[in-house]
């Protein structure tokens, strides 16, 4: 049984149909076609699928799509403005903060949630913000440095 669902995705209005009980991750990837959101565990424990819902980081694999009606969702696909990368993306690039890249979209969204509410985080703040995102490749240090770099970047835009 499919129900209609409408929400904002990266600033654009989106309308689609979702099976009752469908999770947001599947709706975003399969129905809407936003492949920037990745699935790692489908159990809500790895953070790979992190998106922002009304500014808060959420694991989309265990978020019921129906509960997102009317909300504003942000994914990694919406980070850049035209050709310009978001300061977080620039910082990840410069710090070589990705190897296989699979955790990167979720990691960026968790970091964005932090910087949007706390423009000058300490290292401990960053560690806390990404503590729910598993990375198997980098050992985390370059990611932490990238988030701190982005917070200091002069180019940082307001949401």
């Amino acid at each position: 049984m499919k129900t209609p669902i409408q929400f904002q995705l990266n600033g654009e209005d989106v309308a689609t149909f979702a099976e009752s009980g469908a999770n947001l991750l599947d709706v975003l990837r399969e129905a809407v076609g936003d492949l920037s959101v990745k699935g790692g565990c489908w159990q809500g424990t790895c953070g790979t699928c992190t998106v922002l819902i009304d500014g808060a980081p959420r694991v989309s694999c265990v978020t019921l799509a129906e509960t997102c009606a009317g909300k504003s969702i942000e994914t990694a696909a919406g980070l850049r403005r035209g050709a310009d990368l978001h300061p977080l993306q620039v910082a990840f690039v410069e710090r070589f903060a990705a190897q296989c890249g699979y955790c990167t979209p979720g990691m960026l969204m968790a970091a964005k949630a932090l910087l949007d509410r706390n423009p000058n985080p300490t290292r401990a703040d960053v560690v806390d913000a990404i503590g729910g995102n598993i990375c198997r490749c980098t050992g985390y240090e370059p990611i932490i440095q990238a988030v701190l770099d982005a917070s200091r970047s002069n180019e940082r835009r307001r949401a």
Binding site: F96, G101, I134, R136
Partner: protein, 341 residues
């Protein structure tokens, strides 16, 4: 009810490539009409940087800027055979195959340039910026772009090359084990400093200091990625990970990441890494491969550091707080606890 610090060391080497050899890789390199090159592989990038390392090796061998090279992989219709990405073989085997293909392509390119400039190919050199010039007379030059156009449309030459690299398979003597396991080895030494809490049994790794000898660092940032990421995985193996916590009893296996534990960003420590390079005679520019060895020394260095800190040997991994506490109890307490040993 105290925290005890200790340091431990490990020294290791690591064989490069599939054991005994017999693991070939092939590569194709060709120029497009305007002098940009594609490396065609079936090799796999798992995150270790296969696409990036082979790009730099190709550019160096051709004598062109790295921006003029693109690596295309992996498609079985177009990419020639590669054994795969494992056994720390990628840089060494695929890198060598790419070098061979790039050398062949370069040879044609230099011939074509020589014909345009009316000199002998041996008189020419690449400037690494997209031009080919006469040695000692750099004003007599031609761009790689123009050479590519001339080669294809006037001279009828294809600026392309093929390469394969194979370490021939070694025999093994079943009685003595005599064999040639590998043609080169990388090396490492790592010191770990830990802090052991004798009340909870928890072990925190405070600092790592290491030296890795890897033949040649094709790209220092990619090397750093492997060595930092690998040392995290080593710490994880040493202290956290198991899908069978009561091995060989199979009960209570983890089903998700709440139950399969790995250290998070709050558990990592500073790591000073020093890179040495003793080129392997058969490595591409001497390169070996750091991808696997970077986790290995951490496991024993941490175990040895725990012994140095609290005087207990734990020979079963992972070294959980439970194991530490049991060992301390059997020992009669941590050093300085006042109890008889």
């Amino acid at each position: 009810m105290a925290k005890h610090r200790g340091r431990g060391v490990a020294t290791i080497n690591y064989p490069i490539g599939m054991n005994l050899g017999g693991d070939p890789s092939q590569a194709l390199v060709h120029s497009n009409p305007t002098g940009k090159f594609t490396v065609t592989l079936s090799s796999i990038d798992l995150g270790q940087g296969m696409k990036s390392v082979t790009r730099q090796i190709c550019a160096e061998t051709l004598g062109v800027p790295v921006d003029d090279v693109y690596v295309d992989t992996a498609d079985s219709d177009t990419g020639p055979h590669c054994m795969g990405s494992f056994a720390s073989r990628g840089t060494h085997r695929v890198g060598n195959a790419v070098m061979a293909a790039a050398r062949e392509a370069r040879a044609v390119m230099m011939e074509a340039a020589a014909e345009e400039l009316e000199v002998d190919p041996g008189d020419l050199e690449t400037d690494g910026r997209g031009n080919i010039q006469v040695k000692g007379a750099p004003h007599r030059s031609i761009s790689v772009r123009d050479v590519a156009i001339a080669a294809q449309f006037r001279q009828g030459k294809t600026i392309s090359g093929r390469g394969i690299f194979l370490v021939p398979l070694s025999d093994v003597d079943p009685e003595t084990g005599e064999m040639s396991p590998a043609t080169c080895y990388a090396h490492a030494c790592l010191v770990a400093e830990v802090e052991v809490d004798d009340e909870t049994g928890e072990v925190a790794v405070l600092k790592m200091t290491s030296a890795y000898e890897i033949g040649r660092a094709i790209n220092p940032k990619l090397v750093e990625q492997q060595l930092v990421g690998g040392s995290w995985m080593g710490m994880s193996h040493a202290l956290y990970e198991t899908p069978e916590p009561y091995y060989p009893n199979t009960r209570d296996g983890p089903r998700d990441f709440n139950e399969y534990l790995m250290p998070g960003p709050g558990d990592i420590c500073p790591h000073d890494i020093i890179v040495l390079e003793r080129p392997a005679p058969d490595g591409p520019f001497g390169a070996k491969g750091p991808g696997e060895m970077c986790a290995n020394p951490v496991l024993p260095a941490v175990a040895n550091a725990i012994y140095n800190a609290v005087g207990v040997r734990i020979d079963e991994l992972p070294i959980t707080p439970e194991k530490v506490l049991r060992a301390l109890k059997a020992r009669g307490g941590a050093p300085g606890s006042g109890r008889a040993r």
